[in-house]
Symmetry: C2
Subunit: 128 residues, 2 copies
DNA sequence: CGAAAAATTGACTTTCACGTAAAAGTCAAT
DNA sequence: ATTGACTTTTACGTGAAAGTCAATTTTTCG
């Protein structure tokens, strides 16, 4: 029976607009089925959207996300393409590792900011 | 004697354009000194730029970065402001934790892509 | 000093990722 | 048959973050 999702079900689940999902279709990231003109999203589409949004959260562009999806659907068979892909993968990995480092550092800073806040709150609390 | 950096020294070090640094000044993120009209960057400016770029890498907007800088320069003294700040800090923390999770997941996926590539390369290598 | 290199400002343009408005189609329930 | 909620397409708009270009200064160096 393979459930279908409507577009608004998914927008609600993922907190995006219908415009966003249609945009992703225009950009060739997803290909929901149609009943007439209405889009019908399958579980596979839903999972793909999850991945797209994850890519988006970590700052991938639409083009990069499309590329990754392509690789999954149809990995390159030619030597040069494979080498190019591996180069990109390595670049992305470095990029993500840097980002993780940035995040960890920023998390520590946020801890410090919070501590400063708590100290300040204690002072104010004592003063009253 | 407190060294000064020129704008291009910093653009080279950080791989950004002069336009970018001037833009950050226009946006009130940095305040390099001037000798005449020429900007002179101090070590403190340099460190601040590092932080700005780190914020940028993990997807903070200019407005958010400005806000964080503000907090460092002049933490709020009023109760309501403090509570608001702590709320924001907590939101950011959640956001960053999600991002770190996204990154780790994506890193695993990249590992898989690479493995697939290596397998494929081996096949091709064997075939020739 | 005087030319070349570097820096400045201001205006305009671009890219990305959607937002928004308009006008019409779909469908279930009343 | 109508209402109301939802959906569709088309097309133009927007905000953030710079990039580009041109026309001046300013600085540096032989």
């Amino acid at each position: 029976m393979d459930k279908y999702y409507t577009i608004t079900e998914l927008t609600r689940e993922f907190g995006v607009s219908t415009r966003t999902l249609r945009f992703y279709e225009d950009e060739g990231l997803i290909h929901p089925e149609r009943r007439g003109r209405t889009r019908l999203f399958r579980p596979a589409d839903r999972r793909l959207i999850q991945e797209i949004l994850r890519g988006r959260r970590i700052g991938f562009t639409i083009a990069e996300i499309r590329e990754i999806i392509q690789v999954y659907k149809d990995p390159p068979g030619e030597l040069g393409q494979l080498q190019l892909l591996m180069k990109k993968v390595n670049e992305k990995r470095d990029d993500l590792r840097q980002k993780r480092k940035d995040i960890d550092e920023t998390l520590s800073e946020l801890d410090q900011v919070e501590e400063a806040c708590l100290t300040r709150l204690a002072e104010i609390g004592v003063g009253t």
